[in-house]
């Protein structure tokens, strides 16, 4: 009878323990950030691996999602005689929600898992121990550049997703359903406000970048030193990262008031 309750208590204790561990790991990264060297070369290389290599999937997805929004939006707006507001609808949906959230999920899947796997592989092959023996802090040398690159890349990628999405909606709105391109853009521009909409969008992308940076590096760093451990680190990064993004999305949406 008490076994499920026991398990609940056990699970809660473990969860809180994990949270504490993540917090202290985040603290270590913060400390490493505060100290020289900055390692700009490594940061640049990581921005390439995390940001640049995600551009194709982000841009393509953005274009397609924007096109779908254009199509669905048009079908719905037509019923109210408001087809001219397509630009506003597509733009607002992308800027406020789909841009940062979908970018966050895509980047978690592509780059977050890659980061976890890379760091996990370094644990297995004792490369991190090798660094420790040379008195080089693995958090400073390996984790810091990757985390920073993720935080830098996420808002940039979200911006690209949103813009290609608006383009996708535009192409559908003009080429497929034969609307007016000018009206699309004016309705877009009059509906979108910088502080509420774009500001909130950037804040979300930044927060999501922080989340994925922390989760992916932490899972990689703490993975069990074998092949199964690396695999577990990779999949749990995607799962935990995705759920965290969705939960934080709700809270930012609710709290971002102007």
């Amino acid at each position: 009878m008490s076994a499920p309750i026991q398990r609940l208590g056990n699970g809660t204790t473990r969860f809180v323990g994990h949270l504490g561990h993540v917090a202290s790991f985040a603290g270590q990264i913060g400390l490493a950030l505060a100290q020289p060297p900055l390692r700009p070369r490594r940061i640049l290389d990581e921005v390439y691996g995390i940001g640049v290599l995600s551009v194709s999937i982000v841009a393509l997805s953005g274009l397609v999602v924007g096109a779908v929004l254009g199509l669905q939006g048009h079908n719905t707006l037509v019923r109210f005689g408001a087809e001219d507001s397509l630009g506003a609808v597509v733009g607002l949906m992308l800027i406020r929600e789909l841009g940062p959230v979908l970018t966050g999920l895509l980047v978690t899947g592509r780059a977050g898992s890659a980061v976890a796997a890379e760091i996990g592989a370094m644990v297995v092959t004792e490369q991190l121990d090798g660094l420790r023996m040379m008195s080089v802090d693995p958090v400073d040398f390996v984790v810091k550049p990757k985390a920073l690159a993720m935080v830098i890349s996420m808002p940039l990628l979200a911006g690209l997703f949103t813009v290609t999405g608006i383009l996708g909606g535009f192409l559908i709105g003009v080429l497929v359903v034969g609307g007016d391109g000018g009206l699309y853009l004016t309705s877009l521009e009059s509906a979108v406000r910088f502080r509420e909409d774009v500001g909130g969008s950037l804040m979300k992308a930044f927060v999501f970048g922080l989340l994925v940076a922390l989760i992916s590096t932490w899972r990689g760093f703490t993975c069990r030193p074998n092949a199964a451990g690396v695999s577990a680190a990779t999949t749990s990064t995607v799962v935990i990262g995705s759920v965290a993004i969705l939960i934080f999305d709700y809270f930012i949406t609710a709290l971002w008031r102007f």
Binding site: M122, T125, E126, Q127, D129, G130, L131, R132, M133, M134, S135, V136
Partner: protein
């Protein structure tokens, strides 16, 4: 002259033949106990091979010498003054400056060339110009017989060359203590001989205390000045001849099992 005689005398006192003294070490992994009251002494500037079957704790002991792992209880005293089990972060960093470690798989950073790998300790800790770093790396590469491959990634080298690159990286800071974890694993007999002679050469030339974890009996008997044989949670220490002529049945059992 008085001062230099005093200096000389204190130097002699400091050169205690025992580099590391392990006392009453206890370590357990889950339900399994690895060390139970282990005692061993590592002599300075000598090659000590830590022998033992799989799971006996060779790598574990080596990692403790590198402060990568802490025993449950016991003492590891270095130079008669540094207690490894009590060191804080700054102390560990200070200790590691004088230690080099050669890991089983090499543990070279796979995203960097072997040149960059060997140069890393210098780049991080020494204030050297680019030209000096290049010279140091070339020197150490030459001393391990590795030339012309500086620009390659570790994955592009053969197993033997990777071991040599790992050795080069461990030696570039001129350590007093060199830890080698299974340096002969995964190598063909010819390359094993090569690595053996390399390690012997390094020891004779540079006067570095070497602790080698291995289960390669033949190499051990060719190289070791001392052997620390891990058996039943403890250790039996002695020269190869002493161990071979020991009456202890456990030792006989080990050698009989391993020697063809």
């Amino acid at each position: 002259m008085e001062p230099s005689t005093l200096e000389h005398a204190s130097q002699e006192v400091a050169r205690d033949p025992v580099h590391i003294q392990v006392s009453d070490l206890y370590f357990g992994h889950g339900s399994r106990s690895v060390f139970e009251g282990l005692d061993a002494g590592i002599l300075r500037d000598k090659i000590t091979v830590v022998l033992g079957g799989s799971g006996a704790g060779k790598t574990t002991l080596l990692r403790m010498f590198g402060c990568l792992l802490q025993p449950d209880s016991g003492s590891i005293l270095v130079d008669g003054e540094t207690e490894l089990t009590q060191l804080r972060r700054a102390g560990v960093r200070e200790y590691r400056r004088r230690v080099g470690m050669m890991f089983q798989g090499g543990a070279l950073l796979d995203s960097m060339s072997v040149f960059e790998n060997a140069a890393l300790p210098l780049r991080e800790h020494a204030r050297l110009g680019e030209a000096e770093i290049e010279r140091e790396v070339e020197d150490v590469f030459a001393s391990v017989g590795l030339e012309g491959v500086e620009g390659l990634l570790p994955a592009e080298l053969s197993g033997g060359m990777r071991k040599r690159a790992a050795l080069a990286r461990a030696l570039i800071t001129a350590p007093e203590l060199l830890l080698c974890d299974e340096p002969f694993s995964g190598l063909d007999p010819a390359t094993v001989r090569l690595v053996e002679s390399l390690l012997l050469d390094v020891n004779r030339r540079l006067g570095v205390t070497m602790i080698i974890a291995s289960h390669h009996i033949a190499s051990t008997f060719r190289m070791a000045d001392r052997i620390v044989l891990l058996v039943e949670g403890g250790a039996v220490t002695g020269t190869p001849e002493e161990l071979r002529s020991q009456q202890d049945p456990r030792i006989h059992e080990f050698f009989a099992g391993e020697l063809r």
